[in-house]
């Protein structure tokens, strides 16, 4: 294998490693006395907490019930932050990686939901778009887009991301039509400042995308990012690349990509 090939391959390592190395700066060591003070303080805090816990612990005859409740509470919290994929939690059936075009399948069964602090439901995103309907229409028309009979899809979708095995729940993409033409994709996001939207229009691939959606009308489509590229998985377990909507080849036989990537927040059913 050529050295250049390996060096080039480093380019596509995981985003989190790049970000981690960007910001990493080892802290200077503190003087010994500072460390000893830190240790002493830690010991005191731990001792204090231990005393509090002992005082708060219920008597043995009531402990079982409370313990069960606590377990249920922890369990429900965990469910909010993560979502199991529908294929189950075993790793044996998951291939290491596949696809001529670079779809890399995760080997972890648990999907992280990111952006949970600003969870955006479809209803509030759509209501927000309706509130801003006139402004969106004006923006598109001011940009030369024919939006006279503009209709916004009632459902928005996020994406499964293969690089960090997650689905973001704080943004959704909505499709905008004028009569039969797809004219725009609006992304609604939620953050500490509330809801906001971004309008994309003029994509040379919109008509192809529209044809693709019409061919798959009524089907639940699954959206995913692999690396920085976007793709759609159809219920017949085929994966199509965005822009040219060509079908990926060389996928692993027998692996159910559709079920694996299918999460509620990254699906869309075209009419």
């Amino acid at each position: 294998m050529r050295r250049e090939f390996i060096l080039d391959t480093f380019e596509i390592i995981d985003d989190r490693f790049i970000e981690e190395a960007k910001t990493f700066q080892k802290a200077k060591k503190n003087a010994a006395w500072v460390r000893y003070i830190g240790i002493a303080a830690s010991v005191l805090i731990v001792a204090g907490i231990a005393v509090m816990v002992i005082k708060l612990l219920p008597r043995k005859d009531t402990f079982t019930t409370e313990n069960t409740l606590i377990s249920e509470s922890i369990s429900s919290t965990a469910t909010e932050e993560t979502l199991q994929t529908s294929h189950g939690s075993t790793n044996e059936t998951v291939p290491d990686g596949c696809g001529e075009e670079g779809v890399i399948i995760t080997d972890r069964a648990c999907v992280h939901l990111t952006g949970v602090d600003y969870w955006l439901t479809n209803e509030e995103a759509y209501a927000f778009l309706m509130e801003n309907y006139a402004g969106i229409k004006n923006s598109l028309e001011a940009s030369g887009v024919n939006a006279q009979n503009m209709v916004i899809s009632e459902t928005g979708y996020g994406h499964y991301r293969t690089n960090d095995n997650s689905v973001a729940v704080n943004w959704r993409d909505f499709l905008v039509y004028n009569d039969e033409d797809l004219i725009s994709v609006i992304s609604v996001s939620k953050d500490e400042n509330g809801l906001w939207y971004g309008i994309a229009f003029g994509g040379s691939w919109y008509s192809q995308y529209n044809s693709f959606l019409q061919q798959h009308a009524g089907q639940q489509l699954v959206y995913l990012y692999y690396g920085d590229m976007e793709a759609i998985v159809t219920p017949d377990n085929k994966i199509y690349r965005f822009m040219d909507f060509a079908e990926f080849e060389g996928l692993v036989d027998g692996f159910d990509y559709y079920s694996f990537f299918n999460q509620e927040t990254n699906t869309y059913i075209p009419n």
């Binding site: 294998m1 050529r2 890399i104 994709v185």
Partner: protein
């Protein structure tokens, strides 16, 4: 301005997106380009090409980690420029050093090198990095992704250059063994 807000500007086709990107990531991009090219003028051009490519890529893309996204683009453009410069007999001196080091992993023997192999290799490298302790991982990524010199890495990690060189060499050997065990033809 936070990354979400910058991405929002790109999606709105607001040209101030480039100004904000330059303000926040200009030095970061320049340092990646300069590490590879060792030339101010070439590095500036690569950074400007990077902004242009980001503008043409978002939308439809919506990077989850913007810094990694833009860093990857500037690295790619800079390596292309480096190869062009090499063909014209001018260029920096870090990449040959990196390639020499990677020569301990790769034999330069002919072997399949296509997108399938690249993706498998990337996944193997990711898995390998994932299992490394944080500081070791930072060393490798700073060296082979950011193309940092040993001195910069030593300063960042608060240790000697000798320690860094030795550690990176050991990790390279481990990586070679790891890849061989996974069936890669090195």
């Amino acid at each position: 301005m936070n990354d979400d807000a910058i991405i929002r500007l790109y999606w709105n086709r607001d040209e101030s997106a480039i100004t904000e990107t330059s303000r926040k990531y200009g030095n970061y991009c320049f340092s990646i380009a300069y590490n590879i090219l060792y030339n101010n003028e070439d590095s500036e051009e690569c950074v400007n090409d990077t902004y242009s490519r980001v503008w043409n890529t978002i939308p439809p893309q919506k990077p989850s980690v913007f810094s990694a996204f833009i860093g990857r683009i500037v690295r790619n453009i800079s390596l292309d420029r480096y190869r062009k410069n090499l063909a014209e007999k001018r260029g920096g001196n870090v990449i040959p050093a990196l390639l020499d080091e990677i020569g301990e992993i790769a034999s330069d023997n002919p072997s399949p090198e296509d997108d399938v192999v690249r993706n498998d290799l990337a996944k193997a490298i990711n898995d390998f990095l994932y299992d490394l302790p944080l500081e070791k991982r930072v060393m490798i990524v700073r060296r082979y992704w950011y193309a940092d010199d040993i001195k910069s890495i030593a300063l960042r990690l608060g240790t000697s250059e000798n320690n860094i060189s030795t550690s990176i060499r050991r990790i390279r050997i481990k990586l070679r063994d790891y890849l061989l065990a996974r069936g890669f033809e090195l």
